[in-house]
């Protein structure tokens, strides 16, 4: 062979070698044969299910009664479990590319809250595509309230509340939303999200204030000029000066999103009324040392274009006044510089501490606080940012009003292709698998959490449109609240009652002895009778331990609940072999309110929890102890393997502990933890080892221990990972380098497929207000309020409130009244003769505010009419 041929051969060899090297870590293993193994477990009631041809069966478990548990269930009617057979999830960082790929059918759903207007337009114009609209982040202006002079003697106009308040008039929120955000948002004036229970509750008050603080630059200039002169500043040649120097406003502008344009806009508005500005453009990382860490007195900024996030429909925002406006919020320099009107401060404190006895009293306090917060305006709320989650028209899924699809808890139960049972759905997301998965302290990356949620479930799941909890595994619950506390219930699965005193029983577990590995009872810990604000009792179904199976075929047991209880305490105890310093803060906050837990009945499982923590909704005041942890569901036997590895120093559940110990961060799906977990499994199975044996052995039998490890071994042999849950899908495989995850329908999932279908679409009311264009003063006038959804009348029972507001010709709020129900979908606003008589001649405006029970997003419509 000639030299040149040899050279060519060597080059080819190198290229092939490199290709093979690239494939080495990524090449998937060939799917092994279906594993059928018999194991004995201590479960009395067996389940037998047939195996369909199209779904491979990973585990076959035989219990004492020789009953076989298969992991697959045939697709019968009515269907059970998830609608599709499988879901392929992969990474597509570009929203533009994702939408193009959706057009061709390559992608069914893009699980990303897209805020790009061009993409939005593209989706709207496509016949093949549709979208879910959601909220989540919101923008504001944070003022530096220090002053009136900074350390170097520069004037800070925003130390004056009246100037901050006047900024409400100087900033056109509609312009920001429509022009700067391309319509992808909604104007916002308050510390309340527009889509929230509290905004809905105070919608009429809010609308009046919004009208009062609408864009009025002339008024803004008038107020600001007066206040500036009061401060000793003078307007020279159109420029505000102080001590001979122009008053320069430093606007700290975030550059990552629309806040760049917003910052420019605000700076321009200030320049228009005589200020000079310095536009300090910075990323979030660069800006944080200045606004949140820096001393406000140093005057490094006057205005910061802030942003916050809400991930779930908020139920109680009463504490937002204290958090965002006062020094009670955070112990950081900016917050500590806040000085408030004493009345507002007191009100904010009382709302923060839930110092009210009825909802009516709270509503009144909130009304006052709203008005005072506008006068304070140390924060100027600008807009709730809206996003879309693109999907193909034939694909349906329950999207959360805030979390969209990626933050939805119901997505795995509801996702389907219209008219199809089975099949595969392709989901793309902008990024995935950046960190290892483990239930206690693993990845909390939003897109990973979406996948993690599909493999697990909680005892209750949040309503995607109202935030209220609905039972998933619970049968019912009772909530007993100390008399006088403002708690109410909405759903009938919760029984709410009140008592003059709620005493923690002596046998309740109140703490954990990490050395002796046992719970401490109230009788041992409390020296006096302990009373609490709230007792919640959860009742699980009688057949739960027979029907709810982990993906590896193991029936759920009380051991899973027990592990959840122990881990609530143990990892924060220094005496524990699993002590993790990073778990201490959360534990301390938990213990601040927790007073005891008691297992009343083991099967059916009934658990009482005593606590001083309560929410205004009884549905949110329930402690379930269901084995769903911060980052996913965890079976006791998989967690046990992790604990064993952590004790041996092989890895740690938390990133903080892993760093401290210079070891790996535990991952149950891929990575260096997997072989260690496999070794631990073999060791634990051989020894019948369980953590916390002292307590565990009272509740978990040796047979169950053996069966659990046996099932997990079979699972690991088949799938090569240890990630199991009881959710509607199981993880078949994750490809971390290729950024792909395969989810398969869990054939053991017991619930009907249509269980959560009622949440497939948010029933946001459409309001159409119709009435006379001219009204004669002193004569009655009636306006029709049509309320529909999907062009169908909105059921009256699903409507919480319909009010109307009348603004007279001077712009003042004249009346706020309740509308009258006529029939489903139709209410009437009646202006009595007396009311019209009070309206001056001119153009008036009537606005209808409709609040639904089904969606925490009020709807509005308004028309003008002339009085003569």
């Amino acid at each position: 062979m000639s030299k040149s041929k040899w050279s060519l051969f060597v080059i080819l060899l190198i290229a092939i070698g490199l290709m093979v090297a690239a494939c080495d870590t990524a090449a998937p293993e060939t799917i092994q044969e279906i594993v059928e193994r018999e194991v004995t477990v201590e479960v009395e009631v067996p389940v037998e299910v047939e195996v369909p041809v199209e779904v491979e069966v990973p585990v076959e478990v035989e219990v004492e009664r020789e009953v076989v548990v298969e992991r697959a269930i045939p697709r019968t009617f009515p269907p059970v479990g998830a609608w599709p057979d499988s879901i392929v999830v992969f990474e597509e960082p570009s929203a533009d590319a994702a939408v193009s790929r959706m057009e061709t059918g390559e992608i069914d759903l893009y699980a990303f809250a897209v805020g790009n207007v061009d993409v939005y337009d593209q989706v709207r114009e496509s016949a093949n595509l549709d979208y879910y609209r959601s909220f989540g982040s919101y923008n504001e202006l944070s003022f530096n309230p220090s002053g009136p002079e900074f350390g170097e003697g520069q004037l800070n106009p925003f130390s004056v509340a009246a100037i901050r308040e006047a900024m409400n008039y100087l900033v056109d929120r509609e312009f920001i939303v429509q022009e700067l955000m391309g319509g992808m948002g909604a104007p916002r004036w308050f510390a309340f999200n527009n889509a929230s229970n509290d905004y809905a509750l105070l919608a009429d008050v809010a609308r009046a204030l919004e009208f009062e603080y609408s864009y009025n630059p002339e008024l803004a200039e008038e107020i600001i000029s007066a206040e500036m002169e009061e401060l000793g500043a003078t307007l020279e040649n159109g420029v505000w000066t102080y001590n001979g120097e122009p008053v320069d406003i430093i606007v700290l502008i975030r550059t990552e999103d629309e806040r760049r344009e917003i910052g420019d806009y605000v700076a321009s508005q200030l320049e228009d009324i005589g200020f000079t500005t310095t536009r300090d453009y910075r990323t979030g990382a660069e800006a944080s040392p200045i606004w949140i860490q820096g001393e406000p007195t140093e005057g490094l900024f006057h205005i910061y274009t802030g942003g916050w996030i809400t991930t779930a429909v908020p139920r109680n925002l009463a504490g937002n006044f204290a958090f965002f406006y006062t020094d009670m919020g955070l112990a950081f320099p900016l917050w500590q510089a806040y000085e408030n009107d004493p009345a507002f401060y007191d009100l904010a404190a009382r709302l923060d501490e839930s110092d009210f006895t009825t909802i009516e009293e709270r509503t009144q306090m909130m009304t006052e606080a709203l008005e005072l917060s506008m006068q304070d305006s140390v924060r100027l709320w600008l807009a709730d940012r809206a996003s879309i989650t693109p999907r193909r028209v034939e694909v349906e899924v329950a999207a959360d009003l805030y979390g969209a699809v990626s933050g939805s808890w119901l997505w795995p139960f509801t996702i389907r292709r219209e008219g199809e049972l089975g099949g595969t759905i392709n989901i793309a997301m902008p990024s995935m698998l950046p960190e290892p998965w483990n239930p206690l302290n693993g990845s909390n990356w939003i897109y990973d959490m979406m996948l993690i949620r599909s493999t697990g479930e909680m005892a209750t799941l949040p309503d995607p449109f109202t935030g209220l909890a609905w039972p998933q595994r619970l049968e019912r619950a009772e909530v007993l609240i100390l008399e006088g506390l403002p708690v109410a219930s909405t759903h009938d699965w919760v029984d709410l009652d009140f008592a003059d005193e709620i005493v923690v029983p002596d046998d309740a577990w109140v703490d954990w002895d990490a050395e002796e590995q046992r719970f401490l009872t109230a009788a041992e810990v409390y020296t006096e009778t302990e009373t609490v604000n709230r007792l919640s009792t959860v009742y699980y179904p009688e057949d739960m331990f027979e029907t709810v199976m982990w993906h590896d075929g193991s029936p759920m047991s009380i051991g899973d609940f027990l592990m959840a209880m122990i881990l609530q305490f143990d990892r924060a105890k220094e005496a524990s072999p699993y002590y993790d310093a990073s778990a201490v803060p959360a534990f301390n906050s938990f213990m601040a309110a927790f007073r005891g837990v008691r297992i009343v009945s083991e099967n059916p499982l009934v658990i009482e929890t005593y606590s001083n923590l309560y929410q205004l909704d009884a549905e949110q005041s329930i402690t379930t102890w269901f084995p769903y942890y911060a980052q996913g569901q965890g079976a006791w036997h998989t967690l046990a393997l992790g604990l064993m590895g952590e004790e041996n120093g092989d890895f740690a559940f938390s990133s903080a502990k892993a760093t401290e110990a210079d070891t790996e961060w535990l991952g149950y799906v891929t990575g260096p933890s997997i072989p260690v977990l496999a070794d631990n499994l073999a060791e634990a199975a051989a020894d019948g080892w369980v953590p916390y044996a002292n307590t565990f052995s009272e509740f978990v039998s040796e047979d169950e221990i053996a069966a659990r490890y046996e099932n997990l071994d079979v699972w690991y042999e088949r799938f090569g990972h240890f990630w199991i849950g009881t959710g509607a899908f199981y993880l078949e495989r994750a490809f971390p380098i290729e950024r792909t995850v395969l989810l398969q329908r869990n054939p053991l999932f017991p619930d009907p497929s249509d269980k959560w279908d009622r949440f497939a679409e948010a029933a946001i009311a459409v309001v159409d207000l119709d009435g006379p264009a001219r009204v004669t003063r002193g004569q009655e006038a009636t306006f029709d309020i049509y309320v529909t959804f999907d062009d169908e009348p909105y059921a009256a029972e699903d409507i919480a409130d319909v009010k109307f507001l009348v603004f007279d010709a001077t712009g003042e709020l004249a009346f706020v009244e309740e509308a009258t129900l006529v029939e489903d979908g139709l209410w009437q606003a009646t202006l009595t003769a007396n009311m019209t008589q009070q309206l001056p001649a001119g153009s008036n405006r009537i606005e209808a505010v409709v609040v639904s029970n089904l969606v925490a997003l009020p709807s509005f419509d308004a028309v003008s009419f002339v009085t003569e």
Partner: protein
């Protein structure tokens, strides 16, 4: 070429054998020692400079402190249970979270102390733990993070660069012998096309081949789900490589060919080449022995530097094609101020570069008899 220690000593002085061997050994040893020392100093200086730059002279500590506080503020604003805590409890909780996070990032020590520890670790190739990033399989070890991203980068860039290199050199050699032909003029005419970066071509290729015609994938390394069989996986990988490799080749081929062709042209007009032609030697022999041979040091230098340049990947190209390579990793690390990863990538590159430069000195001697280590003009 200017800093390469080559020296042409055409006139050899006859000396005694033993004395010659001894002096050669001393010369090579002295050269090697000095050269190594210079390279070590360069590497130490370069790595420490990287540490300082990556940490912005310690300013990153302030950024981290700010981010930690912002994260705590966000957490407290979002969690309804935490909002139920009293002000004092909330403050304690926030302080605890901040202390834990600051300790995790080592912010409880002055930056200057940590910077020398970073340097020591880097020089001993103890790349340590990433602060934010994890490897694809979930490890925080920088070594593991880099090693996992290396194969995808190598397979893509090796394919493109090796093809680009050998094809352009071959074509340039061919053109240098056909100066002024249509093909030659065409390459010259197209050479400005290389002013556009590869990702620019990538966008167009995606537009045509993926979006409009749908014949090739938009990006990624393999399809989802990845094929189960190795052969199918390789084919799928090759399919996904077509567009990024084409983008790189399109971007580089004309300028590279033009550059080499000009280089070869200079050597083609040397007197000894003309002499060879006059002697009637075959064109192929002239190319090999009279043009390629004296240009080998340059070709090898270029080839070696091209090989180690693969280490860095290409940030934008990998982003455009969603390729899980080192370029994107580096980009993520910069965005997150993940100093250990930045330093880790840099220190490995520094070592590779130093090693390459060092080795090249010896390779020159092997391929060019005119070159002598440690001679005049050398180290």
């Amino acid at each position: 070429m200017a800093d390469v220690p080559m020296t042409s000593e055409a006139v050899a002085v006859p000396r005694e054998r033993g004395r010659t061997t001894s002096s050669t050994f001393i010369r090579v040893f002295r050269y090697t020692a000095i050269r190594l020392l210079a390279l070590v100093i360069s590497v130490v200086f370069g790595v420490y400079l990287t540490i300082l730059v990556a940490n912005m002279g310690g300013a990153v500590d302030d950024i981290r402190r700010g981010q930690i506080r912002e994260g705590v503020a966000m957490m407290l604003s979002m969690d309804p249970d935490l909002r139920q805590l009293s002000r004092a409890e909330r403050d304690v909780l926030a302080a605890e979270y901040i202390a834990i996070a600051e300790a995790r990032f080592g912010l409880d020590q002055p930056f200057i102390v940590r910077s020398f520890r970073f340097l020591q670790n880097a020089l001993t190739l103890d790349l340590g733990r990433a602060e934010h990033l994890t490897s694809d399989s979930g490890s925080r070890q920088v070594r593991q993070i880099i090693l996992e991203r290396l194969p995808p980068t190598l397979v893509l860039f090796a394919t493109a660069n090796l093809f680009l290199f050998f094809f352009s050199v071959t074509l340039a050699l061919f053109l240098s012998r056909r100066y002024g032909t249509f093909l030659d003029r065409m390459v010259i005419a197209f050479s400005p096309a290389s002013s556009a970066p590869s990702w620019f071509y990538g966008l167009f290729l995606i537009l045509f081949f993926a979006a409009m015609w749908g014949v090739l994938p938009y990006g990624g390394m393999v399809s989802a789900p990845p094929p189960a069989q190795t052969s199918a996986y390789l084919l799928d990988l090759a399919r996904h490589m077509v567009l990024p490799v084409s983008a790189m080749v399109l971007s580089g081929i004309f300028a590279s060919t033009y550059s080499w062709r000009t280089f070869f042209l200079i050597y083609s007009s040397e007197d000894y080449v003309e002499m060879a032609k006059a002697k009637g030697l075959a064109s192929r022999d002239i190319e090999r022995h009279y043009i390629l041979r004296p240009t080998l040091p340059t070709i090898i230098t270029s080839f070696a530097l091209m090989l180690i340049s693969m280490w860095t990947g290409a940030i934008i190209l990998e982003t455009v094609f969603n390729w899980p390579g080192l370029g994107r990793l580096f980009f993520s690390a910069i965005n997150l101020y993940d100093t250990p990863v930045i330093v880790g990538e840099t220190v490995v590159y520094a070592y590779l570069l130093a090693l390459t430069v060092f080795m090249l000195d010896f390779v020159y001697v092997l391929v060019d008899p005119r070159v002598k280590i440690g001679g005049k003009g050398g180290a």
